[in-house]
Amino acid sequence: MTDIARNRSLSAHSPESRWLPSSQGIVTGAILLFCGGLVAYPLVYLVAESLNTSGEDVFPPAAIGLSNYADLIDDWHVLANTAFVACLATVMAIVIGFLAAWTLTRTKLPGRPQLERLMELPYYMTPLVGALAWSILAAPRTGFVNQVWHGLGGGGDLVDIYSPFGIAWVMALFEGTVAFVMISAAMKSMDPALEESARVMGAGKWRTMLTVTLPLVMPGVLGAAVFVFAEMLGSFAAAFVLGLPARYVVITTAIWQAVQSFPPDYPRASALGIALFAVMFATLGFYRLIIRRGNFATITGKAFRPRTMAMGRLAWVLFAACVAYIVVAVVLPVATLLLTSCQRFATVILSQSQFTLANYQTAFGFGAVRSALTNSLVLGVGVATVGVPVMTVLVWIIYRSRAPGHGLVEYVVMFPQAVPRMVFGLALLWAWLNIPIPIYGTLWLLALAYFTVLLPLGMRTLAGVVLQIDKSLEECARVCGASWFYQLRTVTMPLLRPGIVAAWLLVFIASVRELGVSIFLVGPNAKVIAPSIVSAWLSSSSELSAALALIQTVAIFIAVIVLFRATRRYSQERA
């Protein structure tokens, strides 16, 4: 009965050794080299430039010193502003995130599953779009809120979004979702038996909350706070749109100003960038530490169904609070943009408004703007289509392979997460200006940059799915006689399909809305949408930028709807 096996398998008893470079080993090595180069090469240039004291922009620098860093002391107010805004926004985001997470995981609420889905929406509004909308809504004098206030006879301005509080407000609306997702994950991974045993021992509802629930959820909350803080440090759009009119400068906008000044002050920009990178790197290191330390009882990797409490009338208050968050973060900004984009001059006093579709005609008709739209879509589709299969193999190597160096791959590909987008964009700008390969100012450089900075996002999405796949499903294929590639094709990839679809859409979305890196890398023949919105804003056409922002938002929301559908079908299949 063993003849089939003998025919096929015993013929393979030719010497075969894993000490010879295996296909996995070769692939791992190539990936390490390629991704390592993509990430490290620009940063080397940036570090060199930050040490450049020669006053001339040549590479390598003619004179090296620390004076650029010493000059940072003169920028102390910029550093202070950055810290202040980041702290303020973190506190606000955590409050939003914690309340929403607690409400949606621990209380009985009408329409909870739908609400949970909707809570993710603010994340897909970009800070740029949010900042634009809120500046139209709440700018002094011309803002819609103040227009209404004046119309009602109020004196002065009711609100002023051009302030650190305005920046923090817009950022917190955006990051609130991130905090919500992280904190509710921590709450869901807590075994309800831990609380139930406290109740059984005689502790009341509140005592249980204070002595068991909070201490167990605390590491999750702290982790979310540190993570959000790190993101705030590197954020650009809100500070750009809302800070500069009030001359309120943070590090990222200071970098932008240094590059835009004439002549560009690259050494100062680089020193600022490296400083920001160092702080962000340290913060994320701290985050990893917390996450690891906090691992004690709560996170078993298992998701529990938390016990929910009936809240009586309070449920409706909490429900209203969640809805209010979505309205303020999504509905109101989108409505504002819609209204503005259809007007000749932005106003909320409808009797004065002149409705027009001219802004959309410009967006779709004007060459530069139209090409920016097309380029963004092409880049989004291209980077996602080429990038996600590469990321899939990467994820597999990190979590499944035993090829030498597979652990290192994780550090290399997750590294871009620790580099603020602005800083990475600056590094790429400087690096590719100094290299004879003519891809600066083309879409190719943008594609390469997007792939690099979006690696962590795609990897995290795919890793979540890879880790859910029982290892023996793959081992079994090998034992049945399948080679590595055959196994990847017939077992791993099909099982990963939902994750691959999700990763594709997320990478597409992130590409279409990318700003921090793009703003330094766009050229006359390679425009993309987010920097075009910024240019339109700078040329003080809030109506055109509103139209562009809305187009971008619509493209993203279409992708989000597809994403939700795809993942819902997946979770139904699994259930």
Binding site: A477, R478, V479
Partner: protein, 367 residues
């Protein structure tokens, strides 16, 4: 036991500083069913995975059907897919994105067999596990027991030279497990396929194996037939882990240097007659007596104990009714002894009794 299908020599598997398997040597004959038995962490699964090619050893050799598939000296490590083996996984590893048919056909398709051949072989395999009616069913919709059968059919469909089992029954409930045990044994005999089976369940190991390999902390404690392992444990670990036994401390009497009957002075001064399976060195200090091999008699009933060589007086301290048997804890001069008797033999707690057992059931342990 004719020609050897699997030969393992001095196998070592390390994870960093931890030695999971430490010098295991083992031979499995053609058509033989060998079970690796031991507590978790004893290296049994690692050994099995090394045979499969899923774990890379650090030393030794593994030969399957005469061909070297792993050799540290020759720097050879044939990947899993080229070893001509098959495996049933603890989690079944039935692919949820395929139908039952596709699951079972996988190994056949990998080998590029023609369509009709694939169909007949799959049917044959599904017939063997009584799952023919489920061929078109999606594998995601199967119960645990059904997945188990599909995993089994998939493993045997391409007629592998060697079949490996990694705790295949441990996820089933007790009743189903007992049924599957019977079926597995039957199937293994019918196919005559060489198999290596891993389990931590000693009852399962004894019931379905031709030979049992008892493992502990990375090494082999004892290899033998189920009866041999049960009746002639060599070490305290085997006596304790397989079945239930009383361990009595003491010292072997000097003089004896050949296998056979020896004298044993139990701690507390009691003299026993024991059987040594090996040539005693004079330093042995434990004997083992299976709980099922000890008779109990009250002074009143005083009957069948007559022919037994070892007699110990004692008092029944505790009686636990288990249904299929009654377990007595008896205080005696050699310590507390556990005795299992059929539920028909009822004694009261506190009763003075005489325990007796034959010398061939009092086994001198090697260490």
């Amino acid at each position: 036991m004719s020609e050897a299908r699997i030969e393992i020599n001095d196998l070592v598997v390390r994870y960093g500083d931890v030695v999971a398997v430490d010098g295991v040597s083992l031979t499995v004959g053609q058509g033989e069913h060998v079970t690796l038995l031991g507590p978790s962490g004893c290296g049994k699964t690692t050994t099995l995975r090394a045979i499969a090619g899923l774990e890379e050893p650090s030393g030794g050799t593994i030969r399957i059907a005469g061909a070297t598939v792993y050799s540290a000296a020759e720097r050879r490590n044939v990947p899993a897919e080229k070893r001509g083996i098959s495996m049933v996984f603890q989690s079944y590893a039935v692919w949820p994105h395929m139908s039952v048919f596709d699951n079972v056909a996988y190994g056949l398709r990998v080998r590029n067999l023609p369509r009709d051949k694939v169909a007949t072989e799959v049917e044959r395999a599904l017939d063997l596990v009584q799952m023919r009616d489920f061929a078109t069913r999606s594998a995601a919709l199967l119960s645990g027991g059904q997945q188990q059968r599909v995993a089994l059919a998939r493993a045997i469909a391409f007629s592998p030279a060697v079949l490996l089992f990694d705790e295949p029954l441990s996820n089933l409930d007790a009743k189903l497990r007992a049924e599957m045990r019977v079926e597995l044994r039957d199937l293994q005999r019918r196919l005559g396929v060489t198999s290596v089976y891993v389990t931590h369940d000693q009852e399962e190991a004894l019931a379905i194996s031709d030979r049992v390999v008892v493992m502990n902390v990375g090494g082999i404690e004892q290899i033998g037939t189920p009866e041999n392992i049960y009746n002639r444990p060599k070490t305290r670990f085997v006596a304790d882990f397989v079945g239930s036994a009383n361990l009595i401390a003491g010292r072997v009497r000097g003089g004896a240097s050949r296998p056979g009957v020896v004298g044993f002075d139990a701690t507390g001064g009691m003299g026993l007659e024991a059987l040594a399976g090996h040539a005693p060195t004079g330093r042995e200090d434990w004997v083992a007596v299976r709980t099922a091999y000890i008779d109990i008699a009250t002074d009143a009933s005083n009957g069948r104990a007559g022919g037994m060589t070892n007699k110990i007086g004692g008092t029944i301290r505790q009686r636990l009714f288990h249904g299929d048997f009654i377990q007595y804890i008896v205080d005696s001069p050699v310590g507390q002894l556990t005795v299992r008797r059929p539920p028909t033999e009822l004694f009261d707690e506190g009763a003075a009794v005489t325990l007796s057992f034959a010398r061939e059931h009092c086994v001198l342990l090697e260490g």
